[in-house]
Amino acid sequence: MDIYGETFTSRLMLGTARYPSPDILKQSIEASGAEIVTVSLRRESANERAGQAFWNLIRETGVRVLPNTAGCHSVREAVTTAQMAREVFGTNWVKLEVIGDADTLQPDLFGLVEAARILTKDGFQVFAYTTEDLVAADRLVEAGCRVLMPWGSPIGSARGLNNVYGLRAMRARFPEATLLVDAGIGVPSHAAQAMELGYDGVLLSSAVALAGDPVSMARAFRLSVEAGRLAFEADPLQPRDMAEPSTPVLGLASFA
């Protein structure tokens, strides 16, 4: 998988929030085979220093980090958060989220495009959390985004791919972009479906972190992403309306 000119073997990216314990987070990252995990920024207390302990844990895993701007509802918030993340994490990567709706956490596509323009001009490599809207995607690509992350369905909803047609159209419209389905993945079959559509990868978080056995679920997702990609590359049979015999009819005995 190509990410801004770098090649990664794993097509599964994992969030780091809401795990039962730091140890299970670490084991889940290993079981998933993920080479990239998402991280965030929050206020730090001088006494507790919770962020320092978390950062040390992530560094021990050796994976690359993708900082997000989760929780930002304005261009200014997102840009400032991205700038702070670049300094703290030492990366130009940013998963750009500008949230526009409190109930669905749907991206504010207008703010997203504006923030993407500002950040790409400032040297960031933007992973844009977007919808399957083709016009917004076009503007994001124009702004310099080479990685687009359309939602499968609302964040944390576990509803899978809400708009398969839209995602398929997006893949066809942007063959050169790195497209990752982000958000709404609930079970491994959802991830496999995204991969079968030709998506370059998937990013998920709660589906593993909140599973009864996160480590086993991380492995299940690893296998499903690999299976989905393999299926896509194998050129799947296309659906048809009517039956077609799978057993040859030529030479069929007649008992009429």
Binding site: L41, W55, P67
Partner: protein
Amino acid sequence: MRVVLNGEPAEIDADTLDRALAELGYGDAVVATALNSEFVPAPMRGEARIAEDDRIEIIAPMKGG
């Protein structure tokens, strides 16, 4: 001097951001800073003057999805 530190009222003596970090006990912690909603890069903290009622944000790595 009265300031708003990470959304909470606080009293500090420091008049620059780098001194405020030291006074508050952040030491060598990996943090990023903003003053009145503007990002202040680490090398600029010594020049970032703090005034009464300024809003200081000190943030660090956290779990994310």
